[in-house]
Symmetry: C2
């Protein structure tokens, strides 16, 4: 057997074991009996140990040195295997174990602190997580930039500098749009009433199908938080229901369907190989966002959805589809990122990006983080944060050590803007089909242009290959200004 | 770290990984999207490879040689680890892989052959499975008896000779009882009507609680076949519903609850160690059978159940609880083992035991198996087998290589007989509580007497320790003669 074949056989087993680990996580969040948690922790730790040993296996190093790739696909496989091997070998095993243990505990401490709006109670834990992740970044960076080393895990090829340039170019137009819209005041009412949860789930399932979700390889379950999990022939999503807010269930479903479709539409040749998954968090988010926003919150789709709402929810009071479209896209002041509209969402991310770079760079102490957050929030959003759960404690990311992750959300929105521009040109019938509740002309184009490639190309190469143009923030900003300019009569 | 501690750390990780493999099996049978099967096969194969490598790891051999057990528990841990290590090292890896591959394919071929009642279509596959398992038995037996080597995997300590002696002692009284009962003719009607499936599942859940099933560590799902899966803090069961036959759901649930309770009631000190599971198939079956039959089909419990049936199933026609008890325990001629009553069940097993010993011993060719089955069935049951699905193709066991497994069913019934005799003396209130729908005085005794010990003692030592008496077939036969003598006025 050639070195390349031996390496790929090893990698296939590793990828299969990663799927198993993902399945355990899904099980824990959806169906696991509550008392099983301590045992599950042991099961996952045992599997993590097996996976780590495989990644740092010295044979991988030998195979990598000797492997001769026959084509571009083989080269890409080697690139991904080398990347993972390097990251795993650079981080000492005891540091990796300390990070796993500390972030696992930190999640519970963060949840308690958030429930009692007490950042001080969480600060020592956050300091420990930050310190461990900085040590990891030092090990990974090989004397390069620490933040870049962390970012690389989520978005290979991007750097703090590249993202800063992109975000600086967005900020003025985002701020101006936000101010212009909010000056118009509250133009639409909120939905009012009780929305049957079983009917919400039926409508979510119907909508998932409308977006091309393949239930032979997928399922939807209820969980506390919406998430997607798994790759290839078995990727699953979760959703949740709120009887007062059917949009929560519906749009989180469409969002996760975007992630799920990306995973299930990767070329089958790449199944259970390092290329068999979405290439980066940013490209992943581009799929979930374009499904959710550019398609799901469009006038065309909300027109169809309005009809389905009238059938599904007896006594649903909105008669006019234009009014329904305005309700779906209402822009209001608010503290919470995950509840933010398309206009304000990226401003939340830009703020977190700046704060987490300062933390990793040593320019901001954890003790000063809450004040820094509140000052910045007042500047960017014109609101005084009233409690920590509406401010610095609202997201779990930093508690579990995800520094360098937030910017991929906005990167995904930028990519979605580029893709939507190209999609409209390539598939002129997208809108007419969507008005009939059929997103598949649009999502079919995304499958061919983006999703099928998995991790074959770098993130930027995937997007530029799909659009035929350099990546730019302009399409996203143009789209937002046109859409919300129309909705708010600017 | 001492050799013993190093060995146990290794064993704990192995046990955790075995739980993961069990969880994948559960997932596949209950919730997995249908199209995911090929990927799941790869995932399970990868995990099997990891587990096999751990079992044959040469360090295990070294640790076993150097380990000094501090107490009886440590001795038992070493006994179980040694047993597994020896079995894994004796079977060549390519033979183990061939067995896994062949039996996996054989299951589908068997299902097709059964659907078309065509034993000839299945015979070549069965020959291959038999030949592979014989080779495995030769590797394991080290020049000893082949059947004993296979049996040892399911019931350590038993041999074909020990079981033959036991079964020969049962046969005359079982045959006599069966003939006497069937001479009485059809004494009770069958249930008639449509039984709401949701109500069946609610009643099954209520009954599971009544038997002490702990839903903090358990769950019940629907699947094609009832089974139990998992150990310790996370053991799960499945059930199924038939709108015409509520007893199918109810008694398969009680049966699996017996298996599930055994696993969840093992002493927590043994969690994720080789002692942390039920000790053998026979002892496992003793728990499921005593829950299902001696308790679940008793006059006391069926009295309570009759009341619940009248509440749960509108229009349920049986007014008299004595009549209901008789319906639950009706004895009728039939071909199918899994549908057999308590009187006839063991006769099905005795027949399979003789046939599979002849197959493994080389005294019966696969080509002659169907004829041998039909002849023997006519002798034992007085019925001509009308088609292969009612005969030699009814069970999946041989297709998946489970030679040596069948006798553990009857061994479990014998053990259940011994345990029930002891239980009645130790817990006089068992019957009065059961009449109120509370099985926990009885199942609590079983937890203390049997279940908590896990694999600490040998199977026979567990049962004899619980009953204080040598194992004997007499209590089971006495119980059957008394119960069915009463029901059929003998």
């Amino acid at each position: 057997m050639s070195a390349y074949d031996a390496l790929m056989a090893h990698a296939r087993e590793t990828e299969a074991l990663k799927q198993v680990l993902g399945r355990l996580g899904w099980d824990q969040e959806t169906v696991m009996p509550s008392g099983a948690a301590p045992q599950r922790a042991e099961e996952m730790a045992a599997l993590e140990t097996v996976l780590h040993a495989r990644k740092v296996d010295p044979r991988v190093s030998d195979w990598l040195a000797a492997a001769e790739p026959a084509d571009a696909v083989a080269e890409a496989q080697l690139r991904e295997i080398r990347r993972e091997h390097l990251r795993a070998t650079r981080v000492p095993a005891d540091l990796a174990a300390a990070i796993a243990r500390t972030t696992s505990l930190a999640q519970g401490i963060w949840a308690e602190a958030r429930a009692s709006d007490n950042f001080t109670a969480f600060a020592p834990t956050l300091s420990e997580v930050l310190s461990l992740r900085r040590r990891e970044a030092e090990a990974l960076a090989d004397r390069g930039d620490l933040y870049d080393a962390l970012l690389d895990d989520y978005e290979a090829g991007e750097t703090a500098a590249s993202l800063t340039a992109m975000f600086d170019a967005m900020r003025p137009r985002l701020v101006a749009l936000r101010e212009a819209v909010l000056e118009q005041g509250e133009r639409v009412s909120r939905l009012d009433g009780h929305f049957d949860e079983a009917a919400q789930l039926r409508l979510a399932t119907e909508t998932a199908r409308a977006f091309g979700y393949d239930f032979d390889h997928e399922r939807i379950d209820k969980a506390v938080h919406p998430f997607s999990s798994g790759q290839g022939l078995d990727s699953r999503i979760t959703t949740r229901t709120d009887p007062a807010d059917p949009f929560n269930c519906l749009y989180s479903t469409i969002h996760e369907v975007g992630h799920g479709c990306y995973e299930q539409n990767v070329k089958r040749d790449f199944l259970l190989t390092p290329l068999g998954a979405g290439v980066s968090m940013g490209v992943h988010e581009s799929q979930s966002r374009i499904y959710e926003n550019q398609l799901g919150r469009s006038r065309a789709f909300t027109g169809w959805l309005h009809g389905r709402f009238r059938e599904a929810f007896d006594g649903f009071g909105v008669e006019d589809p234009e009014h329904f479209y305005a309700i779906v896209n209402a822009v209001r002041p608010g503290y919470i990122r995950t509840e933010a509209d398309e206009v304000q969402y990226n401003l939340h991310i830009l703020m977190r990006f700046d704060l987490e770079r300062a933390l990793i760079g040593g320019d901001l102490e954890v003790a000063d983080l809450e004040a820094a957050w509140n000052d910045r929030f007042a500047d960017d959003f014109g609101l005084q944060v009233d409690r920590a759960s509406n401010g610095v404690l609202q997201d779990v990311h930093w508690a579990v050590g995800l520094f360098g992750y937030f910017p991929t959300y906005t990167l995904g929105n930028v990519y979605a803007g580029c893709l939507f521009k190209a999609l409209k040109q390539a598939v002129p019938e997208w809108e007419e089909a969507l008005a009939r509740g059929d997103a598949t002309p649009a999502t079919g184009w995304l499958r061919e242009a983006v999703q099928q490639h998995g991790a074959l190309m770098t993130p930027r190469a995937v997007i530029e290959g799909a659009t035929g143009e350099p990546i730019s923030v302009a399409p996203l900003l143009d789209y937002l200004e046109a859409k919300f300019g129309g909705l708010y009569g600017l």
